[in-house]
Symmetry: C2
Subunit: 439 residues, 2 copies
């Protein structure tokens, strides 16, 4: 399938000026890759594309084409819990509402709940996710069946998953396609015994693999670790077990010390911020301005729909900038342009897929088209700032992943009818509510 | 024009349980008022409506019908400045970017910039605004020409507007229609001399009118007042001048003392919170939990598009709840249900239009219809929480104001083509940029 987009504005994140917007641009997609992205030439498109048959030529009519959003931390399967338990204290929420319900989930439940999330990602311009949930096999299947791109990681802890399972998933799920990947991951420091962490360290060294995990999300979590481990923060403690010798990806990173930041830099660790979830669960505001100053690679995520409750990168982008301004007491901190770069480009590198970080020849065709002719995108004083500060899912016209258009003008192309997915998730909800009420 | 909505879910905010959602409901609109809203009866609609000719009967197919959002503080005309100057320190933003550009505005510029904002309100489900900007006459005209509902107030200060003008607008602009109102308003304590405030106090007493104004938005503003006025906060100082003897509406109310709150209660003052703007300008987080506990009437606003930058009540609702949780360090604070009630119902009372606070017989037909068949609204564990925590403008299917459908399935019915409005606002931007660069 070859697609030509023409007559658009292009924000490629691939040029010398990362924020340059090229008018009257075209983007040629051959198979799953970008073949050309740039200014329209006299011949209608670049000479290198002469003779190519395009299956579709799409007149963008001035719409903006750019790399899709990378939602770098989510638990897609938790859609079944959306709005099931909010406005509760954290421990009551987790222990009385979330865990008992999750314990009743099947592989099939998570398959459909993940597809529901995929629909939300696509309709919001997200082309790639970094997912962490209970059943990697059925998540992999949901990803391949719907065609989104997904780096998933384990969430091993004392109660679920195991070193053997992680190894098995790592071996099997990285061979499927360019769309679905599995990385070594644990839930968090506070849910893993030292024995389990040491085994994980062995795996990390054997595979020369970065470690993905929730890290320093709340103040009590950091305090608890310091009490248990001779004053060491979670970052320090896990580093002492050599878990980050091949890098890592930290989800949250809200409460970090100067020394934590030194370790993050030394180990080439990426940090994924989840501002809406950190607000709603009253966890705090991550030090984004500091991370940027220290040159730490960042990504943005929504976290799961049980805590957020939506999977909307526009909201996260606004919050990433606006909360930094509040935290630093300075409205000039964390410019919107940097935030858009993190959401569309840096995030891809952070989770280990640099081939998806920009629209230029050879990169993966993971694309979002935004309609600038909505009132919230007008006037066009600054398109980048309009997207970050004023943009909404209402502006998403088209989402392409790996060269395939998966969402266009309100319609999905994922091999399922949306009503059927809603019915399946409702079945899960009804069954679990029934089982809970009998318990 | 008479309209019947049927086969919907109804959240009226008019029943004993304000959050009750009635399945298989119908809403009948005769002229500009609600004639019936409730459960479908055997005859297809309520007996009292027999014999009525409906111009349109709309099958909601399970969509949700509820009172539209009330955006209780905005500066609509500032759309021309959207994304023109962000990521700057507050004084640089205001004095070097905003004020010089505003000084070049004409009545006609503000007319079109306001209409651009109206399009954004309608496409986001907002049926009523409380507007404050420079040219009440052309704002009134934009409101009446497009058919949104608007309570506007003066923004008098030492540099613009005057007591005579306020009196003149008050006399003339309250006679137009049920859609457009003018209230006595000043910009803020710190931009008005004591002489001007005393004259305003006379006007307030003569008209027995509540006073609308920006109040206690930033810490320096409160400190400055205390230094100038013998330790009095802005609330205390203005109350000492008897400016609130007939009530008032405070925009922002971020930094208030215990005694300020006592005055707010004693004078029956309503507070309008603007969470996104307060974040982005690094002003702080308003004490919403405290206000609710004290029984103070609240509304939610976006503030103007130069500071926010969008006019999206979904974002504001999420922030009203989530920021309160962060501020109070308690994820159980400020339940989403209360926030939706504030956004759709309480806000109408706060700005002085209780006739728009619910969908029940006799109330104004200011309605939004939300499409629950979008993935972010699924599953329906809790529809109210889905709206507040997961909702987006993407879910807005229809907006009706005063009985007239002004937005439906992506199309506007406001007497203008959207492209023509964009052109007019672009003309304003281009002209002002030219004049600024010559200055």
């Amino acid at each position: 399938m070859n697609t030509l987009f023409y007559n658009g504005k292009l924000l490629s994140f691939g040029g010398e000026d990362p924020y340059e917007i090229i008018d009257d641009a075209e983007v040629a997609v051959l198979g799953s890759n970008i073949a050309f992205a740039g200014k329209k030439t006299d011949t209608g498109y670049d000479d290198s594309l002469r003779g190519i048959d395009f299956d579709r030529k799409i007149d963008l009519k001035g719409k903006l084409i750019m790399p899709g959003f990378k939602n770098c931390h989510t638990h897609s399967g938790m859609t079944f819990l959306r709005s099931a338990a909010d406005d509760l204290k954290l421990d009551e929420w987790l222990n009385k509402q979330i865990f008992p319900r999750e314990a009743l989930l099947t592989e099939e439940d998570i398959y459909y709940a993940t597809i529901l999330a995929v629909m939300e990602y696509l309709s919001g311009g997200t082309t790639e996710i970094c997912d962490m949930y209970l059943t990697p096999d059925s998540i992999d299947r949901a990803v391949l069946d719907t065609g989104i791109r997904c780096v998933q990681c384990g969430c091993m802890n004392n109660f679920s998953q195991s070193p053997e399972k992680l190894r098995d998933w790592y071996d099997r799920l990285n061979k499927g396609s360019d769309l679905s990947f599995f990385r070594i991951g644990i839930h968090a420091e506070y849910t893993c015994s030292e024995e389990l962490l040491k085994i994980t360290s062995d795996i990390v060294h054997e595979l020369k693999a970065p470690l993905y995990l929730h890290m320093s999300e709340t103040e009590p979590e950091v305090q608890g670790c310091r009490e248990r481990h001779g004053g060491l923060s979670p970052v320090e403690y896990l580093d002492s077990l050599k878990l980050f010798d091949y890098g890592g990806v930290f989800f949250h990173g809200v409460h970090v010390s100067d020394n934590d930041i030194e370790i993050i830099k030394k180990r080439n660790i990426a940090v994924i911020t989840n501002p809406a979830s950190n607000l709603k669960l009253s966890s705090g505001i991550a030090p984004i301005d500091r991370y940027l100053k220290e040159g730490i690679l960042l990504g943005i995520g929504t976290d799961g729909p049980a805590s957020n409750n939506c999977l909307d990168m526009f909201r996260e982008m606004f919050l990433t900038s606006a909360l930094a301004k509040l935290r630093e007491n300075d409205a000039a901190k964390v410019d919107a342009s940097e935030v858009l770069r993190i959401a569309c480009s840096d995030g891809a590198k952070a989770i280990g897929t640099p081939e998806c970080d920009s629209l230029k020849a050879g990169k993966k065709a993971d694309i979002v088209v935004l309609d600038l002719s909505c009132p919230n995108m007008q006037p066009e004083n600054n398109i980048v700032k309009n997207i970050v500060y004023s943009g909404s899912k209402q502006n998403v016209y088209l989402t392409m992943v790996d060269g395939v258009i998966r969402y266009e003008d309100g319609e999905y192309n994922i091999g399922f009818k949306k009503e059927d997915i809603y019915k399946e998730v409702k079945k899960t909800v009804d069954r679990i509510n029934r089982e809970i009420s009998f318990a």
